[in-house]
């Protein structure tokens, strides 16, 4: 009797989170996104950051067609600080979520550490086509923590160099399939003209040279900013900026081009742009971003004498909530999603980690859209994405990851604005990051 009247702390949070979830889901339904729950079978609730129309709706439809009686509802959350917090409070508050996406290992492991993700180690091991994604695979293609897997990755998010082909042809530049950082710099210099920067930013040196866990030393006990590659990277950025080959940091910050890097590229203010795949959505949108040149693609340049790791990452980690009432069906959907990402999710600019039954040509067709022959040099895209030796680093240490990323960005801004020397950058980055690591370890 008393029990039925008691509202626990958990249920209170659950009610609040349910209300916010309902409002979120309502928005998506309004946008033609979700499906109403019903039918006799299981209802699976999926939360992800990709807009409904950019693939998730098609994916859900296809799964429901193959699994009659199962209903899938996709709720979109915006993958920013507030959106992730909404997902976290909903998960911990008891909102019915069976499957959810994390974008990057740091938020995923934050959730798994709080008991909000099922251990998928054995489930992934049981699937023969997921052999590369197991915890003991060599090389690693999945994020592992203490020997366990909490996410099934569905996408790879490599960075590549976007090049304005009209400018490239006008300069008479011919490129091979790969290039070094020195060659990239030379091309950037040749492409620099009055009113046009050769590149938006300088290429990275530390990540391509050091690979996984490049930010950490001593197995994660301290930061690695004392490694000379970081100082070299900054010195190169300063040199290119001073020579006006790379856009100055002042303009980048003033116009928020860290977030909207597609704008100067599509507007023809920079000839080259180093970015991951989300830019493709803007290039394909010729109404929102009208332009008359084709985009050529090259892999990120490799610092001479290094392994040449890509500066992107493995993405779209699918996790299953331990509170799911249908964990087996949720796993079925997770598998379906990973295997069919090439078919349904590529049009949103997301490259599948497993190509499944899709051929490279089919994936490119989806990725580059119906105007691909006009907007892209398709051959260079095929060569870069499918024929080059793409090495995506898979980190295993994430201590104070968000704090270190903020410290890195802020100090780099200060240095490129001319307010801090490279030597001081190294000292401060090391001091502040070591302090953040020590604090997180307590």
């Amino acid at each position: 009797m008393t029990g039925s009247r008691t509202i626990t702390r958990r249920s209170l949070l659950g009610i609040a989170a349910s209300a916010s979830a309902a409002s979120l889901a309502g928005c998506n339904l309004g946008a033609g996104g979700g499906k109403s729950a019903g039918g006799g079978g299981a209802t699976l609730n999926v939360w992800g950051g990709v807009p409904n129309e950019s693939g998730p709706d098609d994916m859900c439809k296809a799964f429901m067609a193959e699994n009659p009686g199962t209903t899938v509802t996709y709720t979109r959350y915006v993958n920013d600080d507030q959106g992730n917090l909404k997902l976290d409070t909903s998960l911990s508050g008891g909102v019915p979520i069976d499957l959810y996406f994390s974008y990057g290992p740091v938020p995923m492991f934050k959730r798994s550490a709080a008991g909000l993700a099922l251990d998928l180690t054995d489930k992934i091991k049981a699937e023969s086509d997921f052999a590369a994604l197991t915890a003991d695979a060599t090389p690693l293609s999945n994020y592992v923590l203490n020997g366990k897997l909490y996410g099934l990755p569905a996408a790879r998010a490599p960075q590549q160099v976007y090049i304005n082909k009209t400018m490239m042809d006008a300069a008479g530049i011919k490129l091979g399939k790969t290039w070094t950082v020195d060659e990239f710099n030379e091309v950037a210099r040749e492409l620099t003209k009055p009113g046009v920067f050769g590149t938006l930013t300088a290429p990275q040196l530390a990540r391509p040279a050091l690979g996984p866990d490049y930010l950490y030393a001593d197995g994660g006990k301290r930061s690695n900013f004392g490694n000379p590659k970081f100082a070299e990277e900054l010195e190169l950025a300063l040199r290119l900026q001073k020579a006006k080959v790379a856009m100055d940091r002042q303009t980048i910050i003033a116009e928020k081009l860290q977030t909207f890097s597609q704008n100067p590229f599509i507007a023809g203010r920079v000839a080259m742009l180093i970015q991951s795949g989300q830019i493709i959505r803007s290039i394909n949108d010729t109404k929102g971003y009208p332009h008359d040149f084709a985009t050529y693609c090259m892999p990120v340049p490799v610092p001479a004498g290094t392994e040449g790791w890509n500066t992107g990452q493995i993405g779209d980690q699918i996790s299953i909530s331990p509170k799911s009432k249908s964990p087996d069906q949720a796993w079925e959907l997770a598998k379906f999603w990973a295997r069919n990402a090439g078919k349904y999710m590529t049009k949103g600019g997301r490259l599948p980690l497993l190509s499944g039954e899709s051929t490279p040509d089919q994936i490119l067709e989806q990725l580059l859209g119906p105007q691909r022959d006009k907007l892209y040099d398709v051959k260079s895209w095929k060569s870069t994405l499918f024929e080059s030796d793409l090495k995506l680093p898979v980190d295993t240490i994430f201590t104070a990851g968000t704090e270190i990323s903020t410290i890195h960005t802020k100090l780099t801004d200060e240095t490129l604005l001319g307010d801090r020397s490279v030597a001081s950058w190294v000292t401060e980055a090391t001091r502040q990051s070591d302090a953040a690591i020590a604090k997180a370890g307590k």
Binding site: Q82, D88, S92, K110, A114, K410, E414, L417
Partner: protein, 310 residues
């Protein structure tokens, strides 16, 4: 008949009683506001105080709340980043509040006289107060662009060879934010000052004129003392607004470049929403709350006895 006449006052008396229909109606009238106050002010305030004594990352749910006593406050006191943010907040509010109020007062004094198009001007000055801070931020982002912004083009046109880079300079980002916030707040201050000015009795000024007092003397002995309660109210409100100022900072600078515009409110956001250290963020909020409370009490105490009608 007479019994009925006598009965009426008894019935009204009963209705006025503590548990009567009249009291119930009163409670019903204030209920919406009371519920709003409880839900959106009291509960968050008490929760915030409670969370400041915990280590909580939200992700772990309510079960993950760990009581740490005064640890967050002890860590804050040792945190140089916190004291730097305190310094910036003091500068932001210490310059921003007087600037906004002075600007508001000057506008109000100008509009209090016979000015052509006074009503239209009043609306124009008030517009920034009702416009979204994102729209304001966007306009200023364009105006303060280091190379193509109108402000720097104008400065170069009058011979300033090396104008400031405003929002992308560590030296000028906070100054820019102070200027933008003050610009956006002046209209509201002007309208409040104007309504106070228009309530002042004309005969005081007539008497002062007869005594030979000039415009400045009239201002210092009549206008300014009369405006003391309004000034105190606006000072407190403006100080609270500046100490909580977040939207424009988040949109225009994200606390940067470096940490040059990271005020307490942005530091709180960073710790809570980016680092998921909600206990620490709540402790920053509490320190900020205590600071504003003390300053508000000081202002209130300071103005007592200084106004013309106090």
């Amino acid at each position: 008949m007479s019994a009925a006449v006598l009965a009426a006052p008894v019935s009204r008396q009963a209705r006025r009683g503590p548990g009567g229909a009249s009291a119930r109606a009163g409670w019903l009238f204030i209920l919406p506001n009371l519920v709003g106050f409880l839900a959106f002010t009291l509960v968050p305030l008490v929760s915030g105080i409670g969370i400041s004594f915990t280590d909580w990352n939200v992700v772990s749910g309510l079960d993950g709340i760990r009581f740490v006593g005064l640890d967050n406050f002890a860590a804050l006191i040792r945190d140089t980043g916190f004291w730097q943010a305190v310094g910036r907040t003091v500068l932001y509010a210490g310059v921003g509040v007087p600037l906004t109020m002075t600007g508001g007062l000057i506008i109000a004094l100008c509009l209090n006289g016979p000015v052509f198009g006074r009503s239209a001007l009043r609306v124009i000055f008030f517009v920034p107060h009702i416009v979204s801070s994102i729209a304001i931020g966007f306009v200023w982002l364009l105006l303060l662009h280091p190379s193509s912004g109108l402000v720097n083009l104008a400065l170069q046109a009058i011979g300033v060879a090396d104008p400031p880079t405003w929002l992308v300079s560590q030296d000028w980002s906070l100054v820019s934010l102070i200027l933008i916030t003050s610009w956006a707040g002046m209209g509201f201050h002007a309208v409040i000052f104007l309504s106070a000015l228009q309530a002042l009795p004309e005969d005081l000024y007539e008497a002062a004129e007869l005594d030979g007092a000039g415009r400045w003397r009239q201002f210092t002995t009549i206008t300014w003392p009369s405006l003391m309660p309004t000034t105190t109210f606006l000072a407190i409100m403006s100080m609270i607004g500046h100490s909580q100022g977040f939207g424009l900072i988040a949109f225009l600078t994200q606390g940067g470049p470096g940490n040059s515009s990271t005020t307490l409110s942005y530091l709180m956001y960073q710790n809570g929403f980016q680092y998921y250290r909600f206990g620490y963020a709540a402790a920053i909020g509490m320190m900020s709350f205590v600071g504003v409370l003390l300053l508000s009490a000081f202002f209130w105490r300071f103005q007592r006895g200084r106004g013309l009608y106090s």
